[in-house]
Symmetry: C2
Subunit: 123 residues, 2 copies
């Protein structure tokens, strides 16, 4: 278990990989939940997503989200804290993340996304 997983640099973030990453319902739900959480604190632990799938499957999706540059993982003890790479994404693809997030919000029911009041306070 290496100390900090590899992340692509801002310039290495590629549009097709980002779109592909966001096209999976579980990963979209993770990104959506991270975005909701930004209003309270910027980070969430892996365990906060346990409702979405099993541990090992989530680890697989977390890795994908890291590799494509959508989120960043910080190791602290036995926990991993993750947050959206908002600034990098905005610099590379202005308006894209917000367009996807508001599109997802419109279909929150259909996509079975966490509702606003489900956001963990003080996470």
């Amino acid at each position: 278990m290496s100390r900090t997983p590899l992340h692509p640099t801002r310039e290495q973030i590629e549009l097709p990989m980002v779109l592909d990453c966001l096209s999976d319902p579980i990963r979209l739900a993770i990104v959506y939940q991270l975005a909701q959480q930004e209003r309270v604190s910027s980070e969430l632990r892996c365990g906060d997503f346990n409702g979405l799938s099993g541990k090992s499957n989530l680890a697989y999706h977390f890795a994908k989200l890291r590799e494509c540059g959508l989120m960043l993982t910080r190791v602290a003890g036995t926990n991993r804290f993750m947050r959206l790479r908002r600034e990098d994404l905005e610099a590379r693809f202005p308006g894209l993340l917000d367009a996807v997030l508001s599109s997802a919000a419109k279909d929150a029911d259909r996509l079975q996304l966490v509702s606003e009041c489900d956001v963990v306070e003080g996470g």
Copy 2:
């Protein structure tokens, strides 16, 4: 060969399918080229994309783009004319298509997209 292929209704257009469709470099190039063409005429023939891949592979990608609601195919003689479903997409996911298109434009070189001056005049 049925007269007019099936297209989803506006309400049937799903975000994950749209993002997945746009995540393939060939399909992104098709959509980008259709968007460029909108300034001149709204439609292009299948053959206008022959530079991107072989005929049967293109037909496969065209079907995907139709099925996810990104474009519309109209049959006229031996030709099929295709255009973006701009209004439907804007209604379902406001700002999404333009955000993807401008992101793609920023990376046009990297994505090997057709440049503006390559657009077929009066197609």
